[in-house]
């Protein structure tokens, strides 16, 4: 699969835009399996994903730019996942949450006929978060990692000095 990077770079403006993008990610409501429950727990009161600027889960892919793939990718769901990814607004990012999304997890065995071993065989992935299921803290860490990827600066616990 070919992935095209941005054709035009606008220097400082681009950096400013990335800062804005990193701090207002719009994840998609797309729960697949067990990990989706931990994803829900992350958005709830105790872990509160809103502190990191990514709490507005949208059911429509056209309003999102961040997909959390939380569960096993079966051969039946893969085309749906691809369609959803294609419909998302660009620039967009994908976080593979849990072992199933990374490599098929515990559902890979000899003679298996229904699981795709890793979501990166279907769509490009930016951040991998391992665990079965990963704890909500791990999702927050994955989100921080993605923000770091976007801006080049880790925002939490202490922002590094860049200039």
């Amino acid at each position: 699969m070919e992935v095209y990077g941005p054709r035009i770079k606008i220097g400082l403006l681009e950096e400013f835009l990335n800062l804005a993008r990193a701090n207002s990610l719009w994840p998609m409501t797309f729960g697949l399996a067990c990990c989706a429950i931990e994803m829900m727990a992350t958005t709830a009161a105790r872990f509160d994903l809103a502190r990191f600027g990514a709490e507005v889960f949208r059911p429509s892919p056209r309003q999102c730019d961040f997909m959390i793939v939380s569960g096993t990718i079966t051969k039946k769901i893969a085309p749906v996942l691809k369609t959803l990814y294609d419909q998302m607004a660009s620039p967009k990012w994908v976080l593979a949450y849990g072992n199933c999304a990374i490599s098929g997890g515990p559902f890979v065995f000899e003679g298996q006929y229904n699981v795709i071993e890793g979501v990166d065989k279907v769509i490009p992935v930016d951040v991998y978060v391992p665990g079965c299921p990963p704890r909500p803290e791990a999702l927050i860490e994955g989100l921080l990692k993605l923000q770091e990827k976007l801006t080049g600066v880790r925002r939490f616990p202490i922002p590094e000095r860049r200039w």
Binding site: T29, F30, G31, L32, A33, C34, A36, I37, E38, M40, A41, A44, A45, R46, P59, P61, G71, T72, T74, K75, K76, I77, V80, L84, P106, F107, F109, E110, G111, Q112, Y113, N114, V115, C132, P133, R135
Partner: protein
């Protein structure tokens, strides 16, 4: 007794059933059946008010065996009817005209074994993807003929009628996972529902055949991740029954405590997400906060937040730690106080009442024919609970109180679950008082289980979980079949959803408390 009358009727028909020891097998009556007597026998079951639990197919290479499990609400005794079919050209009369729920189990068998059912209205594929080549659960690979591979991909608009089809899911916020429904609409009203499952089919039954008993065990928690302990318990209980292992009383009581905590956590999650479906966001935060308290307690004991692997065949992985009992006591106190908050916030809320009261009726007859179980059934006024009818774990020593309501609407299903939380809290209090000392697992060690088959049932937060294991004496199960409560509850939705407003259909679907990976297995 109903079972005695039924036995007499069956005998007159020429169907001989033997009584088998329940403690060893998990079912009470067992018998071989001829193909031509099947419908007659099933009609007798229907006449005496039995409900269908599930249909299992086992491939013995020289023949395929279909096993029909029936049970009764008032006189809970499990019947298993066996039917042998020729594997070359398997054809059996369908029982779907009598038990529509059975028709859905037949569809599953058609898909995984290639048995065709004569007189079935719709034998299309439900779970598998279009590229599949062989019947997955046959022991010797058998190719699927192209003409049998009917998979619902989409629906064309019906030009002649004034009805139209809409597609709901697999990515839809109120289907709780990846469930897909084609709904035939006439104006605002639902006329027909055709589901497509299998978006989260994770080959649990195939996996069990490929792995050893203990290697497969951790995956039982990944079937129903909201109430995983009931599934772990079911698996361990079945193995204990098969190997005739006695579990120490302390282990059984700890199992009860953890199972009840898990039940409360599951009901809280349902409460939060169901109200989110109906448009109320606040209870979601309250419910999740209380749920986190339970997860903390269970994490301290088992080491994981969601997919527990705590029980062992013959006991537990570890004994309680010191702080566990104190934490549970604190939680009971906290939850009893918080139940009032839910009551104030939700029960009398005008919007909630308008969305749920008198919506989504499940009457007893529909429930029986589809094999509905769990809180959904108890909201319809049937006092059937596996914890009472077939006591397992600590329920042998402590009898839980059944939450029961007449009505069968979405509102009653909400109230039943709230009542169940309350009952569970009371049961927990009692269990803490009666927790005995002693060992937490048996010393008996078994390398391979004996040859035989066994059925075991537990009550998960969603309903009756059943497991049927056939062992051939090796270290791997020969066949393992799950009866998943969500599947049986969901299939009734295709019947009760008819004639509903589309907005009410969403409210009803949510009230059934579905977990999709458990449905798809």
């Amino acid at each position: 007794m109903v079972s005695a009358k039924l036995l007499k009727d069956l005998q007159e028909m020429g169907v001989e059933l033997q009584e088998v020891p329940y403690e060893k097998k998990g079912y009470c009556f067992d018998g071989q059946l001829e193909k031509d007597k099947l419908l007659q026998a099933v009609e007798a079951f229907d006449h005496y008010g039995y409900f269908i639990e599930d249909i299992v197919c086992v491939d013995y290479v020289e023949n395929l065996e279909l096993i029909y499990h029936f049970n009764h609400w008032e006189d809970p005794k499990r019947f298993s009817l066996r039917l042998r079919v020729n594997p070359e050209d398997p054809e059996v009369p369908s029982i779907s005209p009598i038990y529509p729920g059975g028709g859905w189990h037949e569809r599953e068998i058609h898909e995984f074994f290639g048995v065709s059912f004569k007189g079935h209205p719709n034998l299309s594929f439900l779970f598998l993807h279009p590229e599949i080549e062989y019947y997955p659960l046959r022991k010797i690979p058998v190719r699927i003929p192209e003409e049998k591979k009917k998979i619902l991909q989409g629906k064309m608009p019906d030009l002649e009628e004034e009805a139209f089809w809409i597609n709901m899911g697999p990515q839809h916020p109120s289907t709780h996972g990846v469930l897909r429904l084609f709904i035939k609409m006439r104006g605002e009203f639902v006329e027909e529902i055709e589901p497509v499952l299998g978006y989260m089919h994770r080959m649990q039954e195939k996996m069990a055949e490929m792995k050893s008993y203990m290697q497969y065990y951790p995956n039982t928690a990944r079937l129903d991740y909201v109430g995983p302990l009931a599934f772990s318990m079911c698996y361990c209980g079945a193995m204990e029954r098969l190997c005739e292992i006695e579990v120490p009383e302390r282990a059984e009581m700890i199992r009860l405590i953890t199972l009840e905590l898990n039940r409360i956590a599951s009901h809280l999650l349902w409460l939060g997400t169901y109200l989110l479906d109906l448009g109320a966001a606040t209870p979601y935060f309250f419910a999740f906060q209380d749920r986190e308290a339970i997860l903390d307690i269970l994490e301290g004991l088992t080491g994981s937040r969601l997919t527990y692997c705590y029980y062992r065949i013959g006991g537990l992985c570890e004994d309680l730690n010191d702080s566990f009992l104190k934490k549970v006591e604190e939680f009971i106190h906290r939850m009893k106080k918080n139940l009032k908050i839910y009551d104030d916030l939700v029960t009398g809320n005008a919007i909630f009442v308008a969305r749920t009261k008198g919506i989504g009726l499940i009457d007893k007859e529909v429930a029986r024919r589809f094999g509905l179980t769990g809180p959904n059934l108890r909201a319809s006024g049937v006092a059937y609970d596996v914890r009472v009818s077939e006591p397992y774990a600590g329920y042998k020593f402590l009898r839980p109180k059944i939450a029961l309501l007449e009505g069968g609407f979405c509102y009653e299903r909400y109230l039943v679950r709230i009542k169940e939380i309350e009952n569970s809290l009371n049961l927990l209090e009692e269990a803490l008082k009666r927790l005995p000392d002693g060992p937490f697992r048996t010393e008996k060690k078994i390398k391979k289980p004996p040859v035989g088959d066994v059925y075991f049932a537990t009550e998960s937060p969603r309903g009756q979980v059943g497991i049927y294991i056939v062992s051939d004496g090796s270290e791997k199960p020969y066949r393992l079949k799950w009866r998943s409560p969500s599947f049986c509850n969901f299939i009734s939705f295709t019947e009760i959803g008819k004639g509903m407003l589309i907005a009410d259909a969403v409210a009803t679907l949510g009230s059934l408390d579905l977990v999709v990976p458990e449905m798809d297995r």
